[in-house]
C-alpha cells in the first residue's frame, strides 16, 4: 500500500507540512517495501487551484491514502473520486505519522475546510 504525506523537507524525519496544496514536497511511501520517494509539488506556486493540482499528483502516484493535517474541499473532491482515504496526522514528523498509521492509530480526517482560494483580489 502506498501512502502520501505533505512534507517540509526531503527526509523521513521532516515535519509534516502545515497544509496540503502548497506543501513543497510530497513523501510517497510504500508501507510493504518501506521504500520512500520524495517528489516536488508542482502545484505549490500555482496562481489558484493548488489543492486540485496537488491532489492530481497524489492520484497519479497511485497512493491509497493521504496523511495530512488539513485539506480543502476541492482537493478532497479529487481524492474522494479516486477513492483515496484521508487520514489526519497527529505527530510532527513524517516518520512518526507513518508509524502511527501502520499501527492503525490515525483516524480519518473528518474536517474539510472551504479552501483558501483567492477572493477576487487578483
Amino acid at each position: 500500500m502506498i501512502i502520501a504525506i505533505p512534507v517540509d523537507q526531503k527526509t523521513l524525519e521532516s515535519n509534516v507540512y502545515m497544509s496540503f496544496g502548497r506543501a513543497p514536497y510530497f513523501l510517497i511511501y510504500d508501507v510493504e517495501t518501506k521504500e520512500s520517494t520524495f517528489i516536488d509539488n508542482s502545484a505549490a506556486a500555482s496562481t489558484g487551484g493548488a489543492g486540485i493540482k496537488a491532489a492530481q499528483t497524489i492520484v497519479d502516484n497511485k497512493a491509497a491514502a493521504l496523511l495530512t493535517p488539513r485539506l480543502g474541499a476541492n482537493a478532497a473532491g479529487v481524492l474522494k473520486s479516486a477513492e483515496i482515504k484521508i487520514y489526519k496526522t497527529t505527530a510532527a514528523s513524517a516518520k512518526d505519522n507513518i508509524d502511527a498509521f501502520v499501527a492503525g492509530k490515525l483516524s480519518l480526517l473528518d474536517e474539510i475546510h472551504a479552501g483558501f482560494r483567492e477572493r477576487g483580489s487578483n
Binding site: G48, A55, G120
Partner: protein, 286 residues
C-alpha cells in the same frame, strides 16, 4: 461622462462621495461596481427594480469523447480540471472562463455551459438610475459583473455616470475605471490612508486616467494625505469634514446632500470642480 470613485481600501468614503455626487447632479446614473458588498442602493432605495442574472461560461465534458490526453488539465493555469479514474472533473468555481481548455481539446470533448455568478439590479430613485452589481458569495471574480454593468450605458450618454468602485487596486478596480473619463480618489488623513491612496494613485497613473483627490474625514491639524497630494502635485478636488452630523446621517443611510444645505453646497461645489477638471482633461495639451 464617466466618473469613477476609488480608494485603496474600504471605508474611506467612496460610496459617500459617489452617492452624493449622483444625487446633486440633475439627472445621472449611479453604478455600484463594488460587487462583493454593494451598498449604494441602501441610500437611494431604488424603485421598480429589475433583476438580470449574470453568468459566465464554464466547460462541460462529454465523457464518451474524452480520451484522457489531459491537454486541458495541463493547459489550465488555475487548475480547474483534474483527471481521475478515467474521468475528467471540472471545478466550476475555480474556472476563470478563458475557454482555453475547449480550444486545446483534440477530441472536441469539451463544450461551454452557462453558470450564474451573480446579478445586476436596475432601479430608479428620483432622477438617478441605480445599477447595482451583486456577486454571489464564494465566487472568485466579479469582473464579468462589472463588464456587464459598464455595458449598460453607451459611452456617448450625456448624463453623467458615477461609478462606485470596489476597494483596492486589483483587476476588478482596473475593469471599473478602464473607460472612466475621470477618477476621484478618496483619501483618509492618516499614514495608513496615504499608503492606500498611493496604491490607487499608482493605478490611475499606470492606466493613464485623469484624476484628483477628495480628502475625507478632515480634522484640524496635520493631514498626511493632503501633504502627499501637495508633494506629488495632485489636484485636491474637495475636503469633507470629519463631523458627527455627517456620520450619523450617513450611517442612517441618508443622502447627506438631501438632508443638510451645507452638505449640498459642499457636493455641488465638488461636482462643478470635477466637471471642470473633466473638461480640461478632455482638451488635449491643456
Amino acid at each position: 461622462m464617466r466618473i469613477a470613485v476609488l480608494s485603496g481600501k474600504g471605508g474611506t468614503g467612496k460610496t459617500l462621495v459617489t452617492v452624493n455626487l449622483a444625487a446633486v447632479s440633475q439627472e445621472s446614473v449611479y453604478m455600484d461596481c463594488d460587487v462583493e458588498e454593494p451598498n449604494g442602493h441602501l441610500f437611494f432605495k431604488p424603485e421598480g427594480v429589475l433583476v438580470e442574472e449574470v453568468s459566465v461560461k464554464v466547460p462541460e465534458v462529454k465523457d464518451e469523447l474524452c480520451n484522457g490526453c489531459r491537454k486541458c488539465v495541463d493547459f489550465c493555469n488555475f487548475n480547474a480540471l483534474a483527471y481521475v479514474q478515467n474521468k475528467l472533473i471540472v471545478f466550476d468555481e475555480v474556472c476563470h472562463s478563458c475557454g482555453g481548455c475547449i480550444l486545446v481539446c483534440p477530441e472536441k470533448a469539451l463544450t461551454e455551459k452557462e453558470r450564474a455568478i451573480g446579478q445586476i439590479q436596475k432601479g430608479v430613485s428620483d432622477q438617478v438610475s441605480i445599477y447595482t452589481g451583486i456577486l454571489n458569495t464564494g465566487e472568485a471574480s466579479g469582473v464579468p459583473i462589472v463588464k456587464r454593468l459598464l455595458a449598460e450605458e453607451s459611452p456617448e450618454i450625456t448624463k453623467p455616470i458615477f461609478i462606485d468602485c470596489p476597494p483596492g487596486s486589483a483587476c476588478i478596480t482596473m475593469e471599473s475605471i478602464k473607460d472612466a473619463d475621470y477618477c476621484i480618489l478618496v483619501a483618509e488623513p492618516t499614514l495608513f490612508g496615504v499608503h492606500n491612496l498611493n496604491m490607487v494613485y499608482e493605478l490611475v497613473r499606470l492606466l493613464d486616467r485623469p484624476f484628483g483627490v477628495v480628502l475625507n474625514k478632515c480634522l484640524d491639524g496635520e493631514n498626511p494625505a493632503e501633504k502627499f497630494c501637495l508633494e506629488k502635485n495632485i489636484k485636491i478636488l474637495g475636503r469633507i469634514p470629519f463631523e458627527n452630523e455627517l456620520g450619523i446621517l450617513n450611517s442612517d443611510a441618508e443622502i447627506v446632500a438631501n438632508k443638510n444645505s451645507r452638505y449640498r453646497e459642499m457636493f455641488d461645489s465638488l461636482l462643478s470642480t470635477v466637471i471642470k477638471e473633466v473638461s480640461y482633461a478632455a482638451t488635449p495639451d491643456s
